[in-house]
């Protein structure tokens, strides 16, 4: 049994997912909050952001993970957010000549945020968070049962 096996690493796997899903929820909330933000520090409207997930251990066989497999140390499992990227899709153009950010033709560039998409993503993130809490509790219950072995 290596360092990454056992009860605490199982809890850490679920915890990594909770962190990642929480970040995803934060980004979705930020997108919704800025759905109508037409000016930012960089200039132009707010751009929708997305979180990119990757397994904490990638399956590409490189030296270090292979070595740790060989030394029976186990591989770090779980998920991690590798970055937050900007959605390159075009802005929503709305005709509103009276708006302070309207261009010469009278169009205002609104963020490329679609509230419906964000809500669907939010539900998916909530479900994923829930299922990882369930997994965490299951592992905790198992660990507690293991502590009872030999008692009574």
């Amino acid at each position: 049994m290596g360092a990454m096996t056992g009860v605490f690493s199982t809890l850490a796997i679920s915890a990594s997912a909770l962190t990642a899903e929480r970040l995803r929820m934060d980004i979705i909330s930020n997108n919704i909050a800025n759905a109508n933000t037409t000016r930012t520090i960089e200039g132009g409207p707010y751009t929708r952001q997305r979180v990119v997930f990757a397994p904490r251990f990638d399956v590409t066989p490189s030296f270090a993970p292979m070595l740790s497999t060989m030394t029976k140390d186990g591989l770090p499992m779980g998920v991690r957010a590798t970055g937050i990227i900007k959605d390159p899709s075009p802005n929503r153009m709305v005709y509103d000549p009276g708006h302070p950010d309207a261009n010469a033709e009278g169009y205002v560039a609104f963020p490329n945020v679609n509230i419906v998409n964000e809500m669907v993503d939010l539900i998916s993130a909530t479900r994923a968070y829930d299922v990882n809490v369930t997994a965490l509790n299951a592992s905790k219950g198992m660990a507690l049962r293991a502590l009872d072995i030999g008692k009574a």
Partner: protein, 141 residues
């Protein structure tokens, strides 16, 4: 005199099963953690069939031990102490467009099943230990 191997064999069997179930729990947790990771492939852990094969092998009427390194292995008994569960990545199935094949419902069902299995194994281990305790105290409590 108590043969140390047969004395501890049920406990060893249970220890190996508990270890395998714990490893399976780890992989189920990992599958669920990566439910939104594009391209992730789920991992399955199996041990019951392998353990049964090992036990059937050891229950054969004619077992031949190797007493020399150059003997050929024929009907050799398997040492349970070296037992490891089998970990397989399921690459063949496609669940979603992003290449991820983790099925939330199936994985949750496996989680519940695994938890119950661990609890019953822990219970059985406790029982066999208390059986030994009774024998040590000559039936007195």
């Amino acid at each position: 005199m108590i043969d140390p191997i047969s004395f501890s064999e049920p406990l060893l069997l249970m220890q190996k099963s508990l270890d395998s179930v714990a490893i399976r729990q780890q992989h189920i947790a990992n599958n669920l953690a990566n439910i939104d990771t594009p391209g992730f492939k789920r991992v399955e852990v199996s041990f019951q069939d392998q353990l049964k094969t090992a036990l059937d092998q050891n229950a054969q009427p004619c077992l031949l031990w190797r007493t020399h390194a150059k003997h050929l292995p024929v009907n050799e008994p398997l040492d349970l102490r070296n037992f490891e569960p089998q970990v397989t990545t399921i690459k063949e199935t496609i669940g979603r467009n992003d290449g991820n094949n983790v099925d939330l419902e199936m994985e949750t069902a496996k989680l519940a099943e695994n938890q119950l299995l661990y609890q019953s194994l822990a219970d059985m281990t406790s029982r066999s230990i208390s059986g030994l305790k009774t024998a040590i105290s000559e039936g007195r409590r």
